[in-house]
Amino acid sequence: MEVLKETVEEEEAAEQEEAAVRAERSEKMTRPMEVRREEAPMTQEMLRDLEKKLSDIDMAIPEKPLTFTKDTIDISSLPLSYQSNTLKEEHLLQVVDNFSRQYIHLCPDRVPLFLHPPNECEVPKFVSTTIRPTLMPYPELYNWDTCAQFVSDFLSMVPLPDPLKPPPYLYSSTTVLKYQKGNCFDFSTLLCSMLLGAGYDAYCVNGYASQDMCQMDLTRDVCPLTVKHQEVVQEKEKVPPKKYAVKPPRDLTSRFEQEQETKKQKETKAEEERRLREEEAHLLDAEKAKTDPLHGLRVHSWVLVLSGKREVPESFFIDPFTARSYSTQDDHFLGIESLWNHKNYWINMQDCWNCCKDLVFDLGDPVRWEYLLLGTEKSHLSLTEEEEDGMNDDDDVEKLGEDEDKSFDMPPSWVEQIEISPEAFETRCPSGKKVIQYKRAKLEKWAPYLNSNGLVCRLTTYKDLECTETLEIKEWFQNRGDMLELRHINKSTGLNIDYFKPGHPQALRVHSYKSMQPETDRVMEFYDTARVDGLVKREETPQTMAEHYQGRSDFLTYRHVSFGDRVKKVALNSAESNSRPMVKITERFAHNPEKPAEEDVAERAFLLSEERVQLRYHCRDDHITASKREFLRRTEVDSKGNKVVMTPDVCVSFEVEPMEHTKKLLYQYETMMKLKNEEKLSRHQAWESELEVLEILKLREEEEEGHRLTISIYDTKRNKKSKEYREAMERVMHEEHLRQTEAQLDYLAPFLAQLPPNEKLTRWQAIRIKDDCLSDFQQRLIDKANLIQARFEKETQELQKKQQWYQENQVTLTAEEEDLYLSYCHQAMFRIRILEQRLNRHKELAPLKYLALEEKLYKDPRLVEFVKVFDTRPGALAKVARAGNLPHSQASVPHTPSR
């Protein structure tokens, strides 16, 4: 193309300059063959290496066919666009071929471009048209990180058939999604399509990367999940000293000594650091694998996201295998041949001797990036301000001219719309499971609901590089009925920590334990707002139990109970009563602002074994000491044998501000009585806490065994109830439908049956059928009217007879008989009236019914074509009239007899 020619001159100059470098590179690039030849005698060693490496990555490779060839793909069902090229595409291919030829001519030392590999149907397709920008309907796939994570999870990786060359085929994303496996080019094509759909400025990159990256070997990378977030401690801004701030007391320590001390510390620190560094370096050396003989030659494909769109502040790479983002300066990326998106294709004209570190991703710069198609959106040529100002005008003019002539639109993508079913989206990994090996760590992922205990992710951390000694295991759960979210098992200390989401029946938040046995070391933390007693935390050791509270109305914040040894006693009723004796209960209270500090107890300790109670009060704002009181509970008997209620030495107290009334025995006595009750209460509460621990442990065990999973009511597939409900609804709908069709009875069936079957109706036949049907109906109406009429007449006659009989025998009739007669008359009259009404109603409705039937017949699909043309309906009205003109009895209704 002309553009290329234009650049040729520029390039020639540049080429001469870079000749030396380029030669070097070409040497490197052509090396693979030599490498093989040269190192042929060392194959044994190489093979072993390879074997080892392969065994390393064994986890990531599915057992089934290592190569993902077209034989396994059913191409018959693929749409037409997959199997052939449109005219435009043919044209594009010609353009591309032309370009390729020129390119080979101009840069003979570079590898041929990856331009139009055949697709699954062996049809060559330009790579840009293989990208199909699609915005996924899942909100989770709107951002690049989740998109990349999805792609890396969803597909399993197949290595390139030849690690030094781009693949011979490039399949459509739909096929790749269907079979859930692909090579790096498939990965990046899919990811690029999704990112473009989501509005990112994304490009597929064809380039060279490190061995680890190409083989998706993460064993030398630290697992991102193990990296601990470093807490950023925000240093408080130093408040400038106020005007009247007091001066600090004079420091009387020797400065010299201090200096010496700090010096010494520094030295030891430096020593330590040096030692650490050495160790690290040592480790690094050990970890560093033998250098890759094919370093810099391994072909890889990844995604480049340029800054600008979607508020991306800086350009970065995404490795589609691992879904990790890298800066464009990263060491793993060794060079770029070309890159493309759905609109254009760019070839890198910059030198990659220093990996990708010096590359400038300014795709509008024709010296650095040779573009294939002109006119399609010159990618942001980032000129400096002045340049832009100066060049803008003529540039525009030029552009206009160019656009008209040479712009060649990229044909639309031949790939079908990329679709991911919700099931597939949820299952994510092929068959719902994925294992990734990291440096000293193994990450396993499962689809939700795949494991019956709700396990979705497990991270195993190892002590050594060979992954034999387990250090700790982290397990993430989802949809657990007991709200367990994360379990952290530390193998070295044997400590288990369970983290719960809000909603556990006992409001558990964190539970760390070594064993599920009661009365061992454990810490339980709770969601205090969900608990009535405001318990935040309960720590247990074999001898003690400490509870922390928050937001209680009695201001209790802390209770500590120490237990003594269990008394060995003959088990009478061993089940309940043998609880550990409490030795000491200490309770702490927050200050109640309504009480004066010296009357508000801050801490009270019941020494149960010594019958001693210690009280410590709150400290007043302007004091440094707090009041104390100690009660010794002993019942004493005086010389006369009377019980001494209270003696001054029962209570030893220290008061900051002695008050008169507190010295009184009465006051002390009352306080002591109150304390007695409170002691009982505290003991009871401690006992209840013990019971609760047992209960929680029991509950936890049950939950662990049962591991019930919760299913959202919106999850109609899994939720049995809603599934049943939906099915029931469907059934009802179906039945309703059946009933409706039944209701539409076929009027014509008996008449059609008379005709010979499987013959088309003639018009004459149709009209006859219609007339027959109508006349039949008319007859029925008349019959019905006659029947009613007959009954009416019969009733009337009978009544008349009865009346006659009555008039004859009126004198001789007994009262009873007369009553009987009268009631008969009454009933007969009623019957006659009803019959009359029915008759009238029938007379009214009959013509309407007749008309309705006629209408229906006219609309009947079987007759419509014959009847419609000839729609005079002769005599229809007359017939109706006849039907309406039913025999009407003129018989006068006899009057009710009156006495």
Binding site: K242, K243, Y244, A245, V246, K247, P249, C619, D622, H623, I624, T625, V645, M646, V652, F654, V656, E660, H661, K664, L665, L666, Y669, E670
Partner: protein, 523 residues
Amino acid sequence: MNRLYHSTEPQVMDEEMLKQAVGEQSLRDEARQLARQEGVLFKDVLSLRLDFQNIIRIDSLWHFENLRKLQLDNNIIEKIQGLEHLVHLVWLDLSFNNIEVIEGLDTLVNLEDLSLFNNRISKIGSLDALVKLQVLSLGNNDISQMMNIIYLRQFKGLRTLSLSGNPIAEMEDYKMFVCAYLPDLVYLDFQCIDDHMKELAELRYQYSIDELKQQEHLTQVQLAKEQAQQEELEEHKAAFVEHLNGSFLFDSMYAEDTEGNKLAYLPGVKELLQAYKDKFVIICLSIFEYGLKQQEKRRVELDTFNECVQEAIQENQEQGRHRVARFEEKHSLNLNTLRDESDLTNFETKIVEYSENITELFNVLMTLEMQLVEQLEETINMFERNITDLVALFIENVQGLMAQCRDLENHHHEKLLEIAISTLEKTLKGELDEDLPEDVRALFVDKDTIVNAVGTSHDLHLLKIDNREDELVTRTNSWCSHLVDTIHKDEIMRNRRRVKEIYQYIDHMQNELDSLECSEIID
């Protein structure tokens, strides 16, 4: 006791009766025994029952400072008296007595429940102080005026009222009226008021109540306004420049100045006076603004000082508390081991060690306190210097402005004198055509008279200005010295309290140790 219940003799409240009543407080056996043994202090008593005692006069109750509940029902009391000291009283029962007038309750601001059932009261009043009143029982009395109910509108917390057995309860509209005028009432005459009733009453008396409300609102607004004004004045007073934001000083100069007022009738004096007044007021205003600004400055200064001192004290206290807590921890351990120790020599060494610990704590605490005292002294001195400087500057500037006032006055005086003399000349020549009032004309008899008149006016003015200035200066100075004094005094008090506290604590510790020693030796 029997004697008390059955005698018809009127009784007088005396010590003995009160003791008896206190002793009978509902206590359990053991506690009662103790109470009898020790005796109970009247001021610790929270509730007292004195019913059916035939008491005729309330007396001798001043010891019961903390009384919360007092029952004086079923006596023959005729006058409410002797309750002034029971300011904590919440519950007062004076039912079934012979009281005729409500009185003597003005100090019982905490009263919530008052019963005056079955007395001879005819008018509700003198309850203004009882802002927390919730329950008021006035049944079986002689109240006959509906207007008494409107008086009860001021008690926002009133929920229960009983008025049955009064003449007004017989009136037909009684219930409606009460419900309408006391909408927050929940129980009337031992019955809950239903919402329907309330609505009806509201509808019925809507207009009169609205009017009442409007009036109440107006008075409230008026009150608020007055209060705001008062506050503003207070603020100005604190800045020592009250009444300087206008012509108040100028007006006061002329208020008592008869001569000056007379002279104002002279030709040209009016304009002169006006110009003088304008200038004078401008200076006054500048004094006023300057005063407010300075006041703000002083306030900020004082606030910073207080804040810093508080911070220092807090920090020091925190350290002290920390020390004490640490000591206490160790102490409890020590005591336990001491108690268990059986070997005498060991015991003694431990005792010695322990007492050393106590001394150490004492030293540490005292050092902390001394340190604080030093620090605070320095700070206080600095503050004192600064505030005195501020005040001095303020006074100086105000004096300068006042001097300007005086200059104005002098100037005005000269001008006035000129005019007066020229007028006198004119009068003498008989050229004066303006008609002056008689008493003004009387001044222009000779030169001495007129000069004297102008002179007295001038002197009076100067005196006023001087007075104002003096007042400002003395008040400012006294404020300053008072402030500094209080700060010093507070600091001394604080120091003494702390030292006392430390001594007390250490003594206690030492005592404990001693007692332990003694007991050990005895054993």
